[in-house]
C-alpha cells in the first residue's frame, strides 16, 4: 500500500485522479445539456426532430462505449476534425451518456400530467416555453434519482478513455503495473479514488433531491 507515497507516484496518481474528474465533469455537462435537448426533440411536435432524437438514442445507447471511442478517435480526424484526446473522450462519453439522460428525462416528462401542458398552451405559451417553464421543472424531481445512477456510472465508464491516450486514473494503473508494484495495492487505491468520486456524485444528488422536495 505504501508504494503510492514513493518517488513521484503520488503526483502521477493525483494527476490521473484530476484528469478523471475533468473528463467526467465535462462529459456530464455535455450529457446533461445534450440529453435534455434530445428529450425535448423526442416530445416535440416536429417529426424530423423526433426522428433525430430517436435515432441518436438508438445508435448511442446500443453501441458499446469502446466502439464509440474508436469511432470518435479514428473516425473524426480523417474528416478534418482534430481535437485533443481529452476532447475526443468528452465527445464519446458525453454523446453516449446523453442517450441515457434523454430517456430518463423523457420518462420524467411523461410523469407530468397532460393537463399541465394543456394549461400552458391554452395561455399561449409556445412549445419551448411550455417545456422549460412548466413541464421540465416538474419533471426534475422525479428524474433526479435515476439521473444520479446515470451520473455515477459515468466516471466509471470514463476509464475506457484510458485506453485512448487520456492520462486518467485507469491509465495510471497501467503505468504502476508496468513499474511492477503489487497489483492488489494498485487496484485498492484506484478503487478508492473511484469510490470518492461516486460518493461525491451521490451526495450531490441527495442534496438536490432534498432541496427540490421542499419547493412544492
Amino acid at each position: 500500500m505504501g508504494f503510492l507515497f514513493e518517488d513521484d507516484n503520488f503526483s502521477l496518481f493525483r494527476d490521473g485522479f484530476l484528469q478523471t474528474i475533468e473528463l467526467s465533469a465535462l462529459s456530464a455537462l455535455l450529457a446533461l445539456l445534450l440529453g435534455t435537448l434530445l428529450a425535448a426533440f423526442r416530445v416535440s411536435p416536429v417529426p424530423v426532430l423526433r426522428a433525430f432524437g430517436t435515432a441518436w438514442v438508438t445508435l448511442f445507447r446500443n453501441t458499446p462505449l469502446t466502439l464509440l471511442f474508436f469511432a470518435v478517435e479514428f473516425g473524426l480526424p480523417p474528416l478534418g476534425v482534430h481535437f485533443s484526446h481529452l476532447v475526443f473522450g468528452v465527445l464519446a462519453l458525453g454523446g453516449y451518456t446523453a442517450s441515457f439522460v434523454c430517456e430518463v428525462i423523457r420518462s420524467g416528462i411523461n410523469t407530468v400530467p397532460l393537463g399541465q401542458a394543456e394549461a400552458a398552451r391554452s395561455l399561449g405559451m409556445t412549445f419551448g416555453q411550455t417545456l422549460t417553464l412548466v413541464v421540465l421543472p416538474q419533471a426534475a424531481r422525479t428524474v433526479l434519482a435515476p439521473l444520479s445512477s446515470v451520473f455515477i456510472a459515468l466516471p466509471r465508464n470514463s476509464a475506457i478513455a484510458g485506453a485512448f491516450s487520456v492520462g486518467e486514473l485507469y491509465s495510471v494503473q497501467q503505468t504502476f503495473s508496468e513499474r511492477g508494484y503489487a497489483i492488489f495495492a494498485i487496484f485498492f487505491w484506484v478503487a478508492c479514488a473511484y469510490l470518492v468520486i461516486s460518493a461525491a456524485v451521490a451526495t450531490l444528488f441527495r442534496v438536490l433531491e432534498s432541496r427540490l422536495a421542499v419547493a412544492r
Partner: protein
C-alpha cells in the same frame, strides 16, 4: 341569484367565434358532425348533453387544443392557424378553464396568474403582479396568493384558474365542465364568479351539467347528442318546452330527482 334577462335577439355585431362545417373523428368514432355555430360578442353559450355527445371536444376545438379534421373555425374574423407561434398568439386571446383546474403545481397562486402575462403578453412584472392580485381579489382568493395550488380547496383552485385565464385579457372564455370535479358545497362559489363574469359582458362558452347556471346565466343553450347540435334555444324555451325527443329524454332524466 341575478336573473339575466334573456335576449331573443342577440346584439347585432360581427360574430366573434364562427365554426362552419366542423368535423372530427377519434378513429372510427365521429365525435363532431358538421357543426355550424356562431357566437357573438358578449354572448354566453351553454353546451349541455349526455356524456360522449362531443360537447367538451367542441369546446376544446375553439382554441385548437383539439385539432379538427375538416371545416373552419375563425376567431374575431381570423382563421385558427396551424400549430406554432401564430397559434400560440391566438390561444392567448382565448381563456380556458379545465375540469381538473390544471394550475401549475410548482408555482404559487400569484405566480400562476403572473406567468402568462409576463412570458406571453410581455407585461412588466410589477404591473403583472398588480393585475394578478386584483384578479385574485375579484374571485375571492386574494388571501391565498402566496400558497401553492395543492394547499387550496378545489373551489379555490378553480377560481384561481379563472383568474389565470382572465389575466390574459381574453376575448372569449371557454369553460370545460368547470364544476364537475368539485365537492358539491364548492360548486356555487365557482358558479357565482362565472355569473359575475357573464354579467360583466364576457363572451363565454360553458360546458356544464349545472342546469341552474344554464337557466340563469346563459343567452343560449345548445343541446348536443352524438356529435351534433340537436337543438338550440333560449334557456327558458329550452327547459320549459324542448322540441327534440333526445332533449326531452335527457331533461326528464336529469330534472326528475
Amino acid at each position: 341569484m341575478a336573473e339575466n334577462p334573456v335576449e331573443d335577439s342577440t346584439p347585432a355585431a360581427a360574430p366573434l367565434v364562427v365554426l362552419s362545417g366542423v368535423n372530427k373523428h377519434y378513429g372510427a368514432l365521429h365525435v363532431l358532425q358538421d357543426i355550424d355555430l356562431e357566437i357573438v360578442q358578449g354572448e354566453v353559450v351553454v353546451l349541455i348533453g349526455p356524456s360522449g355527445s362531443g360537447k367538451s371536444t367542441l369546446c376544446r376545438t375553439i382554441n385548437r387544443l383539439e385539432p379538427i379534421d375538416s371545416g373552419a373555425i375563425t376567431l374575431d374574423g381570423r382563421p385558427l392557424p396551424a400549430e406554432g407561434r401564430e397559434l400560440a398568439r391566438l390561444r392567448a386571446e382565448v381563456g380556458m378553464v379545465f375540469q381538473s383546474f390544471n394550475l401549475f403545481a410548482h408555482k404559487t397562486v400569484l405566480e400562476n396568474v403572473v406567468i402568462g402575462q409576463v412570458k406571453v403578453r410581455k407585461v412588466a412584472r410589477p404591473e403583472a403582479e398588480k393585475t394578478a392580485r386584483e384578479l385574485l381579489e375579484r374571485v375571492g382568493v386574494g388571501a391565498q396568493a402566496d400558497k401553492y395550488p395543492a394547499q387550496l380547496s378545489g373551489g379555490q383552485q378553480q377560481r384561481v384558474a379563472i383568474a389565470r385565464a382572465l389575466a390574459m385579457k381574453p376575448k372569449v372564455m371557454l369553460f370545460d365542465e368547470p364544476t364537475s370535479a368539485l365537492d358539491p358545497e364548492m360548486v356555487n362559489e365557482v358558479l357565482e364568479v362565472m355569473r359575475q363574469l357573464a354579467a360583466d359582458g364576457m363572451t363565454m362558452v360553458v360546458v356544464t351539467h349545472e342546469m341552474g347556471f344554464a337557466r340563469s346565466a346563459a343567452n343560449r343553450v345548445l343541446f348536443m347528442a352524438d356529435g351534433r347540435i340537436v337543438e338550440q334555444n333560449t334557456p327558458d324555451a329550452f327547459f320549459t318546452a324542448p322540441r327534440s325527443d333526445r332533449a326531452k329524454d335527457f331533461l326528464s332524466k336529469i330534472l326528475h330527482h
